[in-house]
């Protein structure tokens, strides 16, 4: 007991305090960048341990693999667009502290809607078809968000698990339609839809087939940025996210805001499905979402819902993904290594948030604390 008292008098060796003032922007981004560099170093060590070649050369090869040629660069840009689109969709839900783990499902049903249009209305001109696919995908994704949203709003049903289960329901629904639309018969894949007529494919703009993806996502990025920052609805989302009670006292109709926000979130993820089908693979399968719905959660979270920062983080993740696949193929190893490296980087960045939110006081350094 005595020992404890004396220890108490001197103050604990390490004391943690929440920062009362928010850290300056450049400081907090500096810490995040530091965490990122530390993570890349750890990854380098791991890569070295596995393949025994100079990590710098590995990173150079990874860069070659992701942005090395014009073609590869555009494929990477396309994938960044996809990731950012989902992240933009998740941002309002997560800002409201609604844990929408269901992006995978929302992407898939959006993709299904797009694929259905391409299959059943293949005789329409592409322009009309695309204008029809976009809203239908958004509606499909929106419904997939609305259902868990409305239950959360009315009966506080756990949204994490609800949206998660909706993913698997969407996967099975996709499997059903893949079996229905399979081409050629017996292959259990849909194959490239409208491969000859290219009906419902994104047209080339200025000779670039993925430019339309960039344009759509850019519109969403800018739109969501201002929606969250400057609109009344964005303000309501922020208040509900901070405290539902405060929101209620302020006269915000919380159930209404929750349902609306989650529907919007799902709708944008549905549009991501449209991008994946009409703007990238031109087919649909149960792996069309391929885990991007989960990765995008982290994109949105790490960017602190700033949609422009999402573009940077998306670029980093795609670089890692493509780069490590390149390395894995060169060495005949499993390309799952990219997920492992992504995970390590995320761990570091998640951990670094602590040093942004809290101040550490060491006893030796802070004498006045001891008094």
């Amino acid at each position: 007991m005595k020992h404890r008292e004396s220890e108490h008098a001197a103050g604990p060796v390490l004391r943690i305090e929440k920062r009362t003032q928010e850290m300056r922007g450049y400081m907090s981004w500096g810490i995040r960048a530091g965490a990122l560099i530390a993570a890349l170093l750890v990854c380098a060590v791991i890569i070295w341990a596995i393949v025994r070649i100079n990590p710098l050369r590995v990173y150079a090869a990874m860069f070659q693999g992701s942005f090395g040629t014009k073609n590869k660069m555009w494929v990477s840009i396309r994938d960044i667009c996809m990731l950012v689109c989902i992240g933009v969709g998740l941002a309002p839900a997560f800002k409201m502290r609604f844990w929408n783990i269901g992006a995978e499902g929302q992407i898939l049903v959006g993709g299904l809607a797009a694929a259905a249009c391409m299959i059943y209305f293949k005789n329409l001109p592409t322009g009309v078809l695309l204008l029809m696919m976009l809203p239908l995908s958004a509606i499909a994704g929106g419904v997939w968000g609305f259902v868990p949203g409305v239950f959360k709003a009315k009966w506080n049903t756990n949204e994490t698990l609800f949206t998660l289960m909706m993913n698997y329901i969407a996967i099975q629904l996709t499997a059903y339609f893949v079996a229905l639309w399979e081409n050629p018969f017996g292959s259990n894949t849909v194959g490239v839809i409208n491969g000859i007529t290219r009906a419902g494919w994104f047209p080339e703009i200025l000779g670039q087939k993925y430019l339309l993806n960039v344009i759509i996502v850019a519109v969403l990025v800018v739109g969501m940025y201002f929606y969250l920052r400057n609109s009344k609805q964005g303000y309501e989302i922020a208040v509900v996210g901070e405290s539902e009670n405060t929101a209620r006292y302020a006269g915000i109709r919380v159930p209404h805001v929750v349902t609306r926000t989650v529907t919007i979130s799902g709708a944008i993820c549905g549009i991501a499905g449209f991008l994946a089908v009409a703007g990238a693979s031109h087919t649909i399968s149960t792996s069309t979402a391929g885990g991007k719905g989960f990765t995008a959660i982290i994109v949105a979270w790490m960017a602190k819902f700033n949609t422009f920062v999402m573009v940077l983080i998306g670029a980093l993740l795609v670089f890692l993904d493509k780069g490590s696949i390149e390395i894995a193929t060169q060495f005949g190893l499993s390309d799952h290594v990219s997920k492992m490296l992504t995970g390590i980087i995320l761990f570091f960045v998640l951990g670094s948030e602590f040093f942004i939110e809290y101040k550490l006081h060491f006893r030796a350094a802070n004498k006045e604390v001891a008094k």
């Binding site: 783990i101 698990l161 989960f294 799952h336 492992m340």
Partner: protein, 332 residues
């Protein structure tokens, strides 16, 4: 009849994987940690168990002796359990010590561990200088050894109850034991206090951080056994790179809700999920298309249960009040 028995057996085997996962997760959630890294932890358990037995069997082959069954089993269990504990500790360190968001941390753990496990599952043979896929026949056989006499002489009982390797019974025993431990012992009471209201527990002198760490780490170890069982029994000692573990891991998370945070309800819930998951296989005249719709059943049932649970709001099957929330003494 034949069909029914074989459906039952498939259901039990399937259920055992998620029973381990959910029992571990209940322990962790009782301490207030919503660990969405369960699928990842099951991945870790599966791969590390496989790696451990793989090296043991290789060493035996090099020495020219036959692997001893009991050693195979022990090495696999210890490796798998330890991997799960490490996963749980990593989660606790990030969420309890560094106060990172639990949802995001859990998902990250699942992404990382999925990559880690699939990478080594796919590349271990090449890294170890061999060719082909890894396979640990001796260990898998040891895991699938059934009880003598009981498993052959009792007719229907043998086929339905004593048809499995020891892990099936271990899962049930663990679930019953933990249910009792959490509900009836002082330590269990403290743990529940930490999960319901860490501030109150802290004021009462319960070391909140220690409880959170221990519950999540041991819970991780138990969940990881689900991965071990999946690899050794369900996959018969080979690696499945199709993400089967991840699917089952999410079902394990759902089962926690389904069971109302009570391990003993998890037991029949797990087998029910197992039966529903395999039902499509045993319904005559089902086209491939409609069987895909049938595979939706366990997920749809979970959704229905979730909704009913939230509508009824019964006091005794609600989540721990502080589930998923970080605790920081100075922020009360």
């Amino acid at each position: 009849m034949r069909q029914l028995i074989s459906l039952w057996q498939a259901g039990i085997v399937f259920g055992t994987v998620i029973l381990f996962g959910s029992t571990g997760e209940i322990l962790s959630e009782k301490g207030g940690n919503l660990n969405l890294g369960v699928p990842g932890i099951m991945y870790l358990g599966g791969i590390m168990g496989l790696v451990g037995s793989f090296y043991y069997e290789r060493a035996c082959a090099a020495a020219g002796i036959a692997p001893i069954a009991i050693v195979c089993v022990l090495i696999t269990l210890v490796c798998g359990f330890a991997a799960g504990i490490l996963g749980g500790l990593l989660f606790s360190f990030l969420t309890t010590t560094l106060r990172a968001n639990q949802n995001v941390t859990g998902l990250t753990l699942t992404i990382f561990a999925g990559g880690f496990a699939n990478f080594f599952g796919g590349s271990l043979m090449k890294l170890a200088g061999g060719v082909g896929q890894i396979s640990v026949a001796a260990t898998s056989a040891a895991f699938r050894t059934r009880l003598p006499w009981l498993s052959s002489e009792l007719g229907v009982f043998s086929e339905t109850i004593f048809h499995y390797g020891f892990m099936v019974y271990l899962a049930v025993a663990l679930a019953i034991f933990l249910g009792w431990y959490i509900q009836k012992t002082p330590i269990g009471l403290n743990l529940r206090a930490v999960g319901e209201s860490p501030a109150t527990a802290d004021a009462a002198g319960i070391p909140v951080t220690k409880y959170k760490y221990l519950a999540t780490a041991i819970g991780g170890g138990i969940s990881a056994l689900g991965g071990v069982y999946y690899v050794m029994d369900y996959m018969k000692g080979t690696w499945d790179a199709d993400g089967g573990i991840e699917r089952l891991g999410w079902l394990a998370v759902a089962l926690v809700i389904f069971a109302g945070w009570k391990p003993k309800h998890g037991i029949w819930g797990a087998y029910l999920f197992g039966l529903l998951s395999w039902l499509f296989f045993y319904i005559a005249g089902l086209s491939r298309r409609s069987s895909e719709l049938f595979k939706m059943l366990p997920y749809a049932v979970t959704v229905v249960v979730l909704i009913i649970a939230s509508l009824r709001r019964r006091r005794d099957n609600q989540p721990p009040a502080a589930l998923g929330l970080p605790y920081f003494r100075e922020e009360r």
